[in-house]
């Protein structure tokens, strides 16, 4: 029998005490994993969304910054308008490479004519678009025809195998985008032509018509020319185009970023307090355990165990408890985050994307190390103290 096997057998004694230590390790590692996954998931989701937009600058009507952020991040439909003529004014600014207008629309809420409700719809101009169109050409070989839509990862056909009814109009869902963990996952993308077709027919087919103000757009996405500074271009837009706000992609979602920083700080405080309390509790439990087992440990010394063996054996027991508790906590936390990801997004009002398997394994490894470190730290002093004790004193009544 090896020292490790002895430690393994010893942890089966006193289920309550060992259960408390394992439970502390379980909660600590689960909480640590949960918080790192949520924060990192929100960060990577934001990054992916900005990449997906592909724009260096997004121009919206003044005062609509918060609405566009909510729309893109949380899928809350946004409706705002500015003159379509702004596209020409923006295109004339030196440094602007491509300008692509978009229309922001919404499906009806709870209407009989429609099979989905409260969905955000983005209509794009295929001639100038540089985000959806290139991807479509790659995936489908061509762009969307009139009556066809592309959906975020949560959009699914509700009329037959491929169709969705919007404003009494049947559209065909051609493809779904990869998940972003943001509101883009429950957004539908369609061409300007399809949007106008739905609008014109909705007067007869829908409970309420889809109204697109004439000569209006909601936003303009801009790609600057190589070598140009987006900040300079943005300044020129402010000077030359009245009533608009240009948002650089690096500034996009600022309010959410601030929210997340605040959330991160709070979480770190809670995690630190939890960690401290766990270490203290585990230390107390170990002290109690070591005191209760002092006769047993004295016997081991009498049988020939060195002080070092006793010390290592106690830390081996601590490590085993930390490992079993930690692995269980990490497994449960991973499953919970995967299963409840939508609820996390909605209740915390943050975007969220699951990590890649490799990234998840690394974070699980870090969580396990935290559990092992914490439990061993807590057990260090009691284990050292009891291993130095005179065997005869240890075995005394």
């Amino acid at each position: 029998m090896s020292a490790f096997q002895l430690a393994l057998k010893n942890i089966s004694g006193n289920a309550f005490r060992n259960g408390v230590v394992s439970l502390c390790a379980l909660l600590l590692s689960a909480f640590a994993l949960f918080t790192t996954l949520v924060i990192r998931g929100a960060e990577s989701s934001l990054r992916l969304t900005i990449d997906r937009l592909g724009a260096d600058i997004v121009v919206v009507p003044e005062g609509s910054e918060a609405k566009i952020e909510s729309a893109l991040l949380m899928g809350i439909p946004a409706r705002f308008w500015m003159p379509a003529d702004h596209v020409n004014k923006i295109a004339a600014i030196p440094g602007v490479g491509v300008v692509s207008p978009q229309l922001y629309l919404a499906t009806l809420t709870g209407a009989d004519c429609c099979s989905v409700s409260d969905m955000f719809m983005i209509a794009y101009d295929p001639a100038s678009d540089f985000t959806i169109q290139p991807w479509l050409e790659e995936e489908l070989g061509n762009g969307l025809r009139v009556g066809e839509v592309v959906g975020g990862s949560y959009i699914s056909a509700t009329e037959g195998e491929q169709n969705i009814k919007l404003y009494g109009y049947l559209v065909t869902l051609k493809e779904n985008l990869e998940p972003t963990g943001t509101g883009l996952d429950q957004t539908m993308f369609l061409t300007f032509d399809t949007a106008y077709d739905i609008a014109s027919k909705s007067e007869f087919q829908a409970e309420s018509p889809l109204i697109i103000p004439p000569d209006s757009i909601s936003a303009a996405l801009i790609k600057v020319k190589p070598g140009s500074d987006p900040q300079d271009v943005a300044l020129q837009i402010i000077q030359n185009v009245p009533g608009v706000t240009p948002i650089e992609s690096s500034d996009l979602f600022q309010s959410y970023r601030k929210q997340m920083t605040g959330l991160l700080k709070s979480i770190l405080v809670i995690l630190s307090v939890t960690w401290g309390l766990s270490v203290v509790l585990i230390g107390l439990v170990f002290s109690m355990a070591a005191n209760e087992r002092r006769k047993e440990l004295g016997v081991l010394r009498a049988l020939g165990a060195t002080r070092r063996f006793v010390f290592q054996s106690l830390l081996a027991e601590a490590s085993l408890l930390a490992f079993f508790g930690g692995i269980t906590g990490l497994a449960v936390a991973s499953m919970a985050i995967f299963l409840f990801r939508k609820l996390i997004m909605v209740s915390l009002e943050i975007p969220f994307l699951l990590p890649s398997p490799v990234s998840l394994l690394i974070q699980i490894g870090a969580g396990l190390l935290l559990a092992l470190f914490s439990v061993n730290l807590a057990a260090l002093f009691p284990a050292f103290k009891i291993s130095r004790q005179d065997p005869a004193v240890a075995m005394r009544e």
């Binding site: 409260d118 949560y154 699914s156 449960v332």
Partner: protein, 141 residues
């Protein structure tokens, strides 16, 4: 170990019985309107009802895990627990299902809660089954 798993199963049985009833679409004010104008619950509600039917025997499995003393009893109980856990997962996913829309409360809370609970029930049953292999019969007084 058996007692711990038994308590866990009792808690999970209560979760499985109670959580779906409060997190299905009917509890959140959403139902289907039929052609003749009647309001009927959607399938997530029937999943919730069916889960109660699984939670009750699971509660007994948990209680007997606390009180039993024989190795064979533990084996039988936890094989039943394993089957019940599998059904808890299968009802909202394959056998009955919940609403298709990802934003509905049944999809956000009811279904993941049931899947997680089912996995934990199966895990607890497996742990008890593995532990019962080295179970020691108590010595007669």
């Amino acid at each position: 170990m058996n007692k711990t798993m038994g308590i866990l199963m009792i808690v999970l049985a209560l979760v499985i019985a109670i959580v779906p009833i409060f997190t299905d679409c009917l509890a959140n004010g959403r139902s289907l309107t039929t052609a003749d104008g009647r309001s009927v619950p959607m399938k997530c509600h029937w999943t919730a009802i069916a889960e109660i039917g699984l939670a009750v025997p699971l509660l007994f499995v948990g209680v007997f895990n606390l009180t039993s003393k024989r190795k064979e009893t533990f084996r039988a109980l936890n094989l039943i627990g394993l089957a019940l856990g599998a059904l808890v997962i299968l009802f909202p996913t394959v056998l009955i299902g919940v609403c298709a829309n990802a934003a509905m409360p049944c999809n956000m809370i009811e279904k993941p809660a049931l899947i997680l609970s089912g996995i934990l029930v199966m895990g607890a049953s497996l742990v008890t089954l593995a532990g019962s292999r080295s179970f020691i019969e108590p010595v007669a007084a």
